[in-house]
């Protein structure tokens, strides 16, 4: 059934997904809040950049990341000056690439949740003596709870499922950059259909259960308080 290199690919994939989700929730929060509330002219530009991974072929993204982070690339030279070495074909290279690739899957649910928070709730909190940061942690985040769950689940699941970017920037180094999706590809190339099948069916079941959880939670919440939630955007659905 599963050999040790399969298990190590599974473990690596889960580790990557956890780490990426965590990082994305932290950096996605201010981006989503800014997108939800700003009236700046840059809003459209930032929103488009965040959404790019939804439409771009993963190989394109992976290619540019590879060039940028390579020894001759601007970012690559930066990481080398900082003493971090070059990122391509390392686990941390995968982390950086996945963060960029999964960004819209985290930012958009957060943004939707935050946009549906009424300005009046924040004004009420202000009149009760809550400072802006206080309001953010005690009103915005609790009221965006559904958005956070959705964002975390989608970010996690999407990171687990990526292939193109991973292959471009991570390659196929067992224990370091060899993820499940790449492993499946390797099995197929070696005509090990049985092993490819085991991993694939696992991925299929996992993805289905995740989506089932997300959508049943959304429906439930929508029926409970229609105001609090918006439907997931059609772009999200399309990309899934």
């Amino acid at each position: 059934m599963l050999d040790s290199s399969d298990l190590s690919a599974i473990w690596l994939t889960i580790k990557l997904a956890f780490l990426v989700t965590l990082i994305l929730l932290v950096i996605g929060t201010p981006i989503a809040w800014w997108l939800a509330r700003t009236s700046s002219r840059l809003r459209g530009v930032v929103a488009a950049v965040v959404a790019l991974p939804l439409v771009l072929p993963p190989t394109v993204l992976g290619f540019y990341l590879l060039v940028a982070f390579g020894p001759q690339g601007t970012l690559g030279q930066l990481t080398q000056t900082l003493g971090l070495g070059t990122l391509p074909f390392t686990f941390w290279g995968l982390v950086v690439a996945s963060v960029i690739y999964s960004l819209p899957f985290v930012v958009q649910p957060l943004q939707n949740a935050m946009e549906s928070i009424q300005e009046e709730s924040l004004e009420a909190a202000a009149t009760l003596g809550a400072s802006p940061l206080d309001r953010f942690f005690t009103v915005v985040i609790p009221l965006s709870k559904v958005g956070y769950t959705t964002a975390a689940v989608l970010g996690f699941a999407h990171t687990i499922g990526e292939f193109g970017v991973v292959l471009m920037i991570g390659g196929n180094i067992p224990g370091e950059t060899q993820l499940i999706s790449v492993k499946i590809y390797e099995h197929v190339e070696a005509l090990n259909y049985a092993q490819a099948h085991t991993l694939s069916i696992g991925m299929l079941l996992f993805s289905f259960v995740v989506l089932l959880l997300v959508y049943s939670q959304m429906n439930g919440k929508q029926m409970n308080r229609k105001k609090m939630n918006r439907k997931p955007s059609s772009r999200n659905k399309g990309a899934l």
């Binding site: 004004e123 009420a124 009149t127 009760l128 003596g129 809550a130 802006p132 009221l143 308080r225």
Partner: protein, 357 residues
């Protein structure tokens, strides 16, 4: 010690709307801010709270919140703000909502005061409920108590009853009347309902097109001809007094006010109680002599203090002096000429209906 509050604000939002207000507020009591929608009432309140920015000076209870070079953010101002919608935090319980305010207050509110407010507004049974489950009226009561949890220096209420049905409105007005006595801070109460003004306000600020047209005791403001012009058919006066006598056989009570006595329906009234009556200008007619053969219960001797006829309405407004109080009467221009009414003349004011509020 509460000190007088002073507000001077200027804001130009567009060519059509400017706010230009200068106010000195009493140290306590409810002051209604009354006017048509779009006259700047809500903007005034939001500028005092700092939710909107205007140029000027805001000094509440001796603390400067805004002046040249100073402008505190809303959360730094000691305000209680009740919005049109309750705006409770749906992720917290009622108690959680109250504590949200309490833990952020600059002055610690005493537990007895908290209990007192909770009992006055009957929200004790709701304390453990989720704020998202409350009805409109319940939520607004909680919002009022929540606003008071910070022991604010001023309570600002922006049409708190606008989104409620009339029964709920009534009960909240009763609660507000009870609260009024427990509060030692000024309350600004924005409304476009004459009924709410006459039921709870001691003073009234009349606004039109971003300016204060009148500011004073409700009884004075409503008996002025300027107000009469603004209100048109709704023009009315408010008389305050005590119930001195109740004739149970006739279900009538005497309301003694500054300058006379009115006979009114005794329903729900008690001897000695303070009462307010509202009389619409169109419910008063005028005669030159006392009519002993009429069904009018209330005929009061009065003197014509002033009159106005802007020609557009078909009626003439008479300002009548009855003792130390004033009445307004709308009579037809035809009657005015036929009776040859003049300023200073003595007449009888015949009052058709008196509404006790």
């Amino acid at each position: 010690m509460t000190q007088q509050s002073y507000i001077r604000l200027w804001l130009e939002r567009s060519e059509r709307f400017q706010l230009e207000v200068e106010l000195a507020l009493n140290t306590q009591g409810i002051t209604a801010v009354f006017g048509e929608s779009g006259c700047g009432k809500t903007t005034l309140l939001r500028c005092i709270a700092g939710l909107d920015k205007a140029v000027g000076k805001v000094n509440i209870n001796g603390n400067t919140w805004q002046d040249e070079g100073v402008c505190l953010a809303p959360y730094q101002r000691s305000i209680g703000y009740v919005f049109q919608q309750a705006n409770l935090f749906p992720h917290l319980t009622v108690k959680g909502n109250l504590n949200y305010a309490r833990t952020r207050a600059k002055k610690k509110i005493a537990q007895e005061q908290v209990d007192h407010l909770i009992d006055l507004t009957d929200i004790r049974p709701l304390l453990n409920a989720s704020a998202a489950e409350l009805s409109g009226g319940e939520a607004q009561r909680v919002a009022i108590v929540r606003a008071l949890m910070t022991e604010p220096d001023i309570l600002l209420m922006d049409e708190p009853l606008a989104s409620l049905d009339s029964t709920r409105k009534d009960s909240i007005l009763d609660y507000l009347n009870r609260l009024k006595r427990a509060l030692s801070i000024p309350v600004l109460y924005v409304t476009h309902s004459l009924e709410e003004v006459s039921r709870i306000a001691g003073d009234v600020i009349l606004m039109e097109k971003g300016r204060v047209v009148q500011h004073g005791a409700v009884t004075n403001v409503f008996s002025s001809l300027t107000t009469d012009k603004l209100l048109g058919k709704d023009a009315s006066v408010i008389l305050e007094g005590r119930i001195t006598d109740i004739e149970h056989a006739w279900q009538l009570a005497d309301l003694q006010f500054d300058g006379g006595t009115l006979k009114i329906n005794s329903l729900c009234l008690e001897q000695g109680q303070f009462a307010r009556a509202r009389i619409l200008a169109k419910d008063i007619s005028v005669s030159l002599s006392y009519h002993s053969d009429s069904s009018f219960l209330n005929q009061l001797q009065a003197q014509i203090q002033d009159m106005s006829d802007d020609g557009s309405q078909g009626y003439v407004t008479l300002k009548l002096k009855v003792g130390d109080s004033f009445l307004l009467a709308h009579i037809t221009r035809y009657s005015c000429q036929r009776l040859n009414l003049q300023i200073g003349q003595r007449v009888w004011a015949n009052i058709k209906t008196v509404a006790i509020i």
